[in-house]
Structures are given as structure tokens and as C-alpha cells.
Amino acid sequence: MKGPEKTITCDFKPRTLKTEGGFETGNTKHQWDYARIRAAHKVLAEYKYERRGVVRGYAGRTLHVDLTTNEIKEKPVTDDMKALFTGGKGFDLKLLYDAVKPGTRWNSEENELVLAAGPLCGVTQYSGTGKCLAATISPLTNIVCDSNAGGYFAPYMKFSGFDAIEIQGKARQDVAVIIDGAEGVVRIETAPLEEVNSHLIAEQLTHMYAADDTDAARQKVAVVSAGTGSEHSYWGCLNISFYDPRRKVARLKQHGRGGLGTVFRDKKVKALVVRIDKMDGLSNDPADPDKIVAAGLRHHTEMRDLDPHQCCMREVGTGNIVEVMDAYDLLPVENYRFGSSPRAANLHSQHFYKRFTQVIPDGCWFGCTMACAKVVDGFTVLTGPYKGMRFSVDGPEYENSGGCANMGLFDPDWVIEWNFYCDCYGIDTISFATGMAFYMEMYEYGILNKERCGGLELVWGNGEAILEFMHRIARGDKHEFIVNAAKGIRKAKDWLKAKGWGDPWLVENCGMENKGLEFSEYMCKESLAQQGGYGLTNKGPQHDEAWLIFMDMVNKQIPTFADKAEALHYFPVWRTWFGLVGLCKLPWNDVTPLSNAKAAEPAKVPEHVQNYADLMTGTLGREVTPKELVAQSERVYNFQRAMNVWMGRGTRRDDWIPYRAKGPVTEIEYLSRKDRYDKQLVEKGLATKEAVAKMTVAEKRDLLAGYRDDQYEKLSDAVYYRRGWTPNGIPTPQKMRALGFGGYKELLDMLQRKIGEDERAGLNKWGGQYGKDAKYGKDESPPTAEPRYWEKW
């Protein structure tokens, strides 16, 4: 949801695109002895399978690779599985549920890393149709974390014959898993000589597994890799390659969130490679290609005609919103203390536009004309092991620039440097930035200092220290700070408290994590709905579930708890639907059609929702309505919540967010927006104007905190009720049955048991049990008078 119409003026100069015959990136050329690297591979297991095409969006089977036993097998995708879970993240969850136990942790033998396509993954006629959905039990949250990425892996995996791959067990030595769709063979091979870091290994394996020495052959290979940062932190990400034949570079997109790269390297997987021999515009076997083309052409035309006047995604990618966030006091600055900064002007998109080498098409999958994957070519690395070398760096995207603002880093070249190493080492930019911002704030207060940080001077904006911290993680530095800080904010908070450093309340409420996952880069203090969008989530505070800031705060479209709850029902369900089918969310609302001006609910972008229904109809060969799309997603959304409960989370307690997400924790924050907060104290009837004038800053802050905590609990009540959950946030068996999970008896029994335990513990009541109990005033009421309302269903 973009907010008000155009808030930035694009002042971009025309530039010529001529790319015929390739493009000189100026990158460092690497010379590797591929024959020697390949010769060092030893085949540990080989599985030959029957090659057959995709049928109406599904390959019809999944692949299971056990690295402990070196067993490879395939499993059928049944009609039931398709009906209940649709694909993508739905398949990830189903396969994980079958494979893990409630006590499974990220490094347990039975934990799996699952990567899945979806029925629309691999379509080429619509923007954003190549997403891979990966999930695992996360080292950060101890529950399932899912993350999506572009690149060629998921479509190629499906065209090779598999809707998903499960990687279970642990190898004894570094291995590569090769899916050779050209030959119909899957192999586990030792991979002792390849590099670990993504920029290098992606290039090596792309060359090694291409059928011949041509760009066309290299473009038919996709590599999944992580890096040395993944090995030594809980912030590991996965990089998915997509070979760019113009730049002649294996570019990378990231499964950023939740430590998937950490699990990948814990299993000693160096790379996952897929190779196809052919594909075309009908490889996904659509029932009605022309229906899909019609929708695709409508969207492409919007990109051509409207994007230059809306978001400029084709020119600067998601970074276009840095200036918008800055203007609306939503850009996280210095660990979310402030929402804007005069220095943030240095990160506005035009500064990156100057550095981007525009060689359209820049989409991370074929046919994406939104093409937001921007590149700085020939970037000379400033620090670390690759200092002086030149690379193509993808990004920065908004989250990267926003993350740098959060660390007080306002120099575009350092943003690119940091972005490069995050990807290269396989580290999630969002978790790293939010984590570092927290450590920097603790450093400012003296809770951390140079000695406690192993010599690092973590003052705001110190690019060299930020990079040195990352290099030390990647080197496996054993200093106490590096080890604990690299495990994420949640564990670092516990470490600080165990050390007795700092006021525990301050530590707990400054570190921006929920469920163990670091917040993404939006300020949500002034938007209650977005606080829910971050906290009342399945995997943790990531904006892919809900981004309601403009609807709530700027456009004021959802004033009541019931309105907010409706938005927090619909949008998380809708936004996670993209993950079920293998799509990117951005083309949905980062360009809006002309019809949106007259739409009844413009935030939903109804014309585009209909496009997606058309894509499903055109692919599956049966009529699919927008309503059915939402129903598909609601099923999977609730299944994920039920899995969280099964694994001991997924309750109101887990949805609690630190106070920094809700309001000013420190006096300096209060004072920086004093007029706003003072006014609210009076408007909400918390104190008279005269009383406010006499109060100390700390008193006013505490009064406001009491109010905002109370609001969050009431919001939770309204949202749980709308979602059909108990007051403690448990999806009820009745709800799960209505969604079609009647056959999951053990799961339903578990939910019933949990609800019974909550009953005995007095948790099945509205009004909040984790923070201070919310008190409903005389003009307010809980969502229903009957706390156990679901029993009447």
C-alpha cells in the first residue's frame, strides 16, 4: 500500500540503454581451475528419476534429500495436499509438519530446510512470478520461519520435476546437492574446493554446471548458497542466483529472514544447484495461456505508462520509498528512536540512481517488467578480504537503506559496501541492521563499551566498525560480544541481562525483536495497526504480513479496533497468499492501475486481485475467484499459527512487542516529538493541559506508555476475535475444522488441550494477560461478551 499519491519528484535524467553485445561491468575477473574443482567432487548418492513436464502449474512430486543417510527419494503431491496447502509456503509447512517434532530446534538432525515453488511460479507473462519460498525451524525463533526470494531456482526446480525440495539431516563434510533436470538425476556430491561465500561460489557453480560455455547455457543454471557469515551467526540468509547474460554475472537475491542460511551451513550444504536444458513460455503448462497473457499485458502496460509517475520501481527499485518514509517520520533512525533525519537525504533514491547501472531488464525472473533488482556494477570493495576487488552489487533495496539509517550510516558508498558483504557472507541485512542499531544504542548509553565489544567502537554511523563486526563474525571470532551479538537481539538481550549490564527494562524495550526475529525497517510508533502488523504475526515482525501505516496513520481509513482488526485479518492473509503460489507481492501494489482511483477499497487494488484470479484460472483450468485466493491463504495462515502453538509458541505472550515499537522509551525520544506526545496525553484524556505542563518528561513518558500498552492489548483482542482465535491467540479446533483441517486430528487435539490449559491458567479472557491487563472503559467493550465464543460455533 503506497500512501498518498506521488510524494516525491523524480528528477532523473534520460539515459541510453544500449546493451547489445554485452555490458562491461568493470568487475574483477576471477580465474579458477574448474576441472580441478570438479574432479575433487565425489558422488555420495545418485537418484535417477523420470523426467516429465509440469501439469497445470504442478510438477506433481517433491524431492526429499537426507544428508545423514545420503538417501534421495521423491514423494507424490496429492490432490488433498494441493487443496489444503496450495503450494509454496503451504507445501513448506506441510512437509515440515510431517518431518519435525514440537521440540525440534534449528540444529536438530530432523530439522529440514524446505524450498518450494507454487503453481504460478515459472509463469513468464506476468511480473514477479519466479519466487522461491523457503522455510525451516529458525535459530532465532525456534518456530517455523519462512522467507521468499527471487532468482531462477524455484522455477527451474519445478521445470526439473519437483514442486519442493526437503533437505534433512546433516552431511559430514561440505556437499553440494545437484538437481540435473536436463538428465533427470539428483546427486549429493562432496564439494571441498568451492568457495563458501556467495558471490564467488555462485559464479563457480554456474560455470561448472552450465551445459556449455555460452551465456544461454549459464542462464539455465541456478545456485543456492550462503556464506561464512551464515556459519557463525543466527542471521544466515540464502542467496539464490540468476545469471545476467548482459553483465555476465551470477546475480543474487536473498531469502533473508530467520536464519535459513544458518541451517543450510549447519547441514554442511555449500550449494544447491539446479540445471535445466530447456524452457519456454508454456513450461508451466497453463490451461489458458491467452488469459494469462492478457493479464500480463495489462500489468506490463501499467509499468510502462504509470510507474514513471508513481513509484519509479524500474528506475530505483524499492529504494524509492526512502524519501517517503523520511518525509512521514517513518524511517527508522538510530534504532527506531527517530523517524527522520536531515542526513537521511543522502540515502534518498536519486543518490543510488546515479550509481545504478541501468541495463534493463533487471527483473530477477523472466518477464518481470517491474524490474526492481538494481545493480551497482564494478563497485570497488572498501574493506575486508575482498578489499580492492570490483563486484556487481545488487541493491540497495529499501530495507538496506532503511537499515543503514537505523545504524546512523548515511553514506551511500558505505551502504553499498555493507550490502555487498551481507550478501557475500550470507547475512540477513534486516536482522543485522536492526541488531547493530540496538548494540549501538546500548553503546551510546555505556551499557556496551569498547572493551565489552572487543575493541569495536560502535558509535552511530561508524561504517568501519560495522563492517569489522561483520568480518569478525565471518571469520568465526570467538570474542564474547561477537558470539552473542551474532545470535540476534533476543539472545543478546538475555546475555546483557545475565551480565547485569544496563537497566533490564531499558534493554528489553530498546531491542527491536519479537519472537526472536528482528523488526524490519519501518517505524510503527504512531500506527497501532502496524504495531499489530508486526506483533500479531506468525513468523515475527516482517512487513510481508501487513503494512498498514498509511491506511492507519496518514489516510485514517481504519479508525476503530474492529476496522484495524479487519485489516489485520485481510492483509496478512492476502499478502501471504503470494507465498503460496510462487509470486512476488510487489507488482500487486507498487504500481496501481487507473481504475484504483474509483475503487471502493483502493488499498486492496481490486483490479490486480482480479488479475491474480485470472492467473490461477488460466493456469489451473478451472474458475478461481478472488474470494478463493483469500480462502487458500487463510487456511495456510492458520495452519502456521497452529504449528507455532504445537511448538510451544503462538500465544499472546509471543505477540508482545517491545515498547520502542509503540512509543518513546527514552526521554530524548519523547522530547524529540514532545508536541505530538503532549497533545496526545490531553486528547486521550490522560491528563489536562495544565497537568501535562507540570509533569516531568519521565512521568509523561510513563503515562503515555500505559495508554499505548493498553491499546495494543485491546487491538490484540479485536484481532484474535476476527481471526477466530481464543483470547490467548490460539486458533480454535472449530476454526481449523471450518478451514478444512478436520483430518488433522492430532493437531486439533493439541489445540484443544492448549485451550484447556489456558482455561485453567485464567488466560481465556479478553483484556490481556501478558502486559498490564487492558481495562475497557465505559464507552468500550471487548469484541464479544462471551470469551469462549467459539464453543457456540
Partner: protein, 151 residues
Amino acid sequence: MKTVKVIVFHPELCEGDLACERACSRVQYFKSDEGGEKSALRIAKGKDGKFTCTVCNHCGLCVDLCPVLALKRLKSGVVALNRGACVGCQACVAFCPTGVMRKAPGHIVPFKCISCGKCVEACPKKALELVEMNIDDLEREVYARHGRVCP
């Protein structure tokens, strides 16, 4: 100076016979006699009774838009599509500044004029002509007109 032969239309000679379209659809990969939606060149009659023709001028913008390098400018200067490499994404169709990269119903791979001259031969009124044009001029015009980054 690099040149390319481009179809030039003389509306005053055209009588709307559409032999050109039928000739074109015969040389396209789906080998049809239908013309119309299966012709790379299209003749239309305006409200004023005058005919117009839309056909590729080989400006080459589509070459930049293809994600798999399936579109190339040949030595002759003609911009041509390698059907075997095409992944059917339709980006070239949507972004063509003159709307002459076509998609025929039932066929996922687009098609375009390759200045073969069959339409010129087919026209009984000699309303079509192949004329050598300077490629730099064509490119300069289209890139200026569709400035910024994306066309």
C-alpha cells in the same frame, strides 16, 4: 553509416485490399493466410477515410527489453526474434513504442516484421515500399521520445 530497410507506407495509394497483411501472415512462423491479428503489419481505416499502417521501424528498443537476449539486430540492421530462445514473457509486446511487436492468439511467442518485403510485393497499388534508413537516427528518436530509463 549503418542502415536498415524499413517499410514505408503511402496512404494515398492504398485501397485497403489487405493483400499485404495476408502475405505477411504467410511468412510468419504460424503460416496463416488470415492476415489481421496474424500479420506483423496492420492497415487500418481512420474516421476520415484515410488508411494508416503500423509496422516495425527496427528502432531496437525491444532488444534492450528481452531478458534472454532472444531479440537481436542482425547484420542487415533488421531486428529479429530467435523463437527458440524466447520465453514468451511479452515484455517486448507491451513496451514496443509503436505497438508493432505482436502476439497472435493461441501462440505464446510474439512475432514482428523482418522487412522481408513480401507485403511490398503483394500490394497491387504499390502503397508499400522498403526504404533504407539510418539506424542511429531511428534509435536516437525512440530513446529521446521514451527518455528516462524505461521507455
